[in-house]
Amino acid sequence: MATTGAKLSAGGSLGVRRVRGGLSRRWLSQVMIWVVLVVGAVLMMLPLMWMVSSSFKLEQRVFQFPPQLIPDPFRPANYVDALTYKPFHIYFRNTAFLVLMNELAILLTASFCAYGFARMRFPGRDLWFAIVLSTMMVPYVVLMVPQFVIFSRLHWIDTFLPLTVPYFFGGGAFNIFLLRQFFRTIPEELADAARIDGCSEFAIYARIIMPLAKPALTTVAIFTFIGTWNDFMGPLLYLNSPQRFTVSVGLATFRSVLNTRWDLLMAASTATTLPIIIVFFMAQRYFVQGVVLSGLKG
């Protein structure tokens, strides 16, 4: 498997391949790779299909062995039952609020800091950027307990404050890093022209860099959406009243209450996963771009 893969990934141009393998051998290995990828893809899709399929099943049909893949009877009402059993509309609203606040916080402050790191030259900048990078390596767990102590001293427990306010301070090292990488690719000449016209650095940031950085900002916005939507530890730690729960915490409590109603649990799981899937399909190219920006160029 590895050998064929390496070979084909290796032989980039047709000429090389023809010399080494001949047409039929190349065709054969293509088919083999394709078969392996299809089998893998089926295995990867099975859990999601199983989730959606279970979510449409009648309660008794869930407990059928071997299980049926296509639900009969088909019961969409599971979604109504699941999402009204617990006040999921409140959970969705709370999560949407957190997403909006964090988008605002991160897009504004991470880009602001990133501008300083990417486009300004001043003593101490590289030291501070090294600090940005090193905070990415520090395990969150070390900060979890003392942060909880601090937030409880501030009487912020059971409010949205611990889940939003910290993001207004630079929006996380990773986002600063990602935006800095992008800002550095924008030609300096544009900013220089603006400086000659008397623009301040703040105006250059707001009027030139930000509009040009839309692709990178979109990438950050998507990662922020997914991160906030999927976050479990934070809301679990800081939110106690059910009227403040996010979808993650709501779903987790739902499971602890109804731990055998897999039909309803799968409906709720599907419903909380769906927004992420929709965002993914709407903005697929920004995912790849984010990966390329973050993982490759140092």
Binding site: M1, A2, T3, T4, G5, K7, S9, A10, V16, V19, R20, S29, Q30, I33, W34, V36, L37, A41, M44, L48, M51, V62, F65, P67, T109, C113, G116, M120, R121, V138, P139, V141, V142, L143, V145, P146, F148, I150, S152, F168, F169, G170, G171, E201, N230, F232, S248, L251, A252, R255, L265, A268, S269, T272, T273, Q284, V291, G295, L296, G298
Partner: protein, 301 residues
């Protein structure tokens, strides 16, 4: 003093002020949410405190308690075993998939989407879904085993199967790593392979002497990041198994969580956190020393 003021009036000084204004949000955040917590944690670690009664100074007592705490050792063992299997397995599989996908096959975007999608499923939905997949009576996994004529396994009830089950679950999310590898592979210039082919290199030789060296920074980055992440696994152990059966999935952070927020032993939890971060830092340094010199960084002009 006047020298500083004079300097600040100059363009270089003004640039410095403006530069620091730009990075002020981060500097304040670093102070409030990093430095202050870190110092608080240093204070916590030498105290016995349940957040209600007055704190009691215990010196290094919290660390001494760790060594005789059987559950601490169990948590460390479970987490190390999980990391030692899940990280290499996930990385190798993700890399192989990326190699296959880079082979100019039809429908690569469809495959990439399918393999990547599971890695963005929310952690809680993922945990609830896998609790159902691993259900011993009616779950998908046992149904698949049944199709192949194998006996059913009590995935979440038998101590020896619970951890492998969660490792299997983690493999479902390998798409994130795969996409990073794929992006890296697509960045390797063809000339390298053409040159290797002219030298008569076999497919294996190309993999070992061209692909892997050129990919080593990406592999290295992925290794460090997945180690840091995997050592802190929490949600699956908390939601699916609650540490059981017989503490077989008592992950380190789950045990830390219980000490902090269930037993309210804040000092002890802080000690646990410091030990974990020393382990992770030690591993990172070890990897940098051991592999860092072998990472090939291409000269970029």
């Amino acid at each position: 003093m006047t020298a500083i003021v004079r300097w600040l009036r100059k363009p270089a000084g003004r640039r410095t002020i403006v530069g620091y204004i730009f990075i002020t949000p981060f500097m304040l955040g670093f102070l409030f949410w990093f430095l202050v917590p870190a110092l608080t944690s240093l204070w916590l670690v030498v105290h016995d405190w349940n957040m209600i009664a007055p704190p009691e100074f215990v010196g290094l007592g919290n660390f001494r308690d760790l060594f005789t705490d059987k559950l601490f050792w169990q948590a460390l063992k479970v987490t190390t075993a999980y990391t030692a299997i899940a990280v290499p397995l996930g990385m190798v599989l993700a890399f192989l998939l990326a190699l296959l996908m880079n082979a100019k096959v039809r429908g690569i975007t469809v495959f990439r989407t399918i393999y990547y999608l599971p890695s963005i499923v929310p952690a809680v939905s993922n945990a609830v879904l896998w609790a159902w997949i691993l259900n011993s009576d009616f779950g998908l996994l046992n149904a698949l085993l049944h199709v192949f004529g194998l006996r059913r396994v009590l995935w979440l009830q038998e101590p020896e199967w619970a951890l492998p089950a969660l490792i299997l679950m983690s493999l479902w999310s390998l798409g994130g790593g795969m996409v990073i590898y794929l992006a890296g592979l697509q960045g390797i210039p063809n000339e390298f392979y053409e040159a290797a082919a002219i030298d008569g290199a076999s497919a294996w030789a190309k993999l070992w002497h061209v692909t892997i060296p050129l990919m080593s920074p990406v592999i290295f980055f992925n290794l460090v990041m997945s180690l840091i992440g995997t050592f802190q696994i929490f949600t699956a152990g908390y939601l699916i198994t609650n540490g059981g059966p017989q503490n077989a999935t008592l992950f380190y952070v789950l045990y830390l969580w219980r000490n902090a927020f269930l037993y309210l032993k804040m000092g002890y939890a802080a000690a646990l956190a410091w030990v974990l971060s020393f382990i992770i830092m030690g591993l990172t340094v070890f990897i940098f020393r051991g592999l860092g010199s072998r990472v090939y960084y291409e000269e970029v002009g």
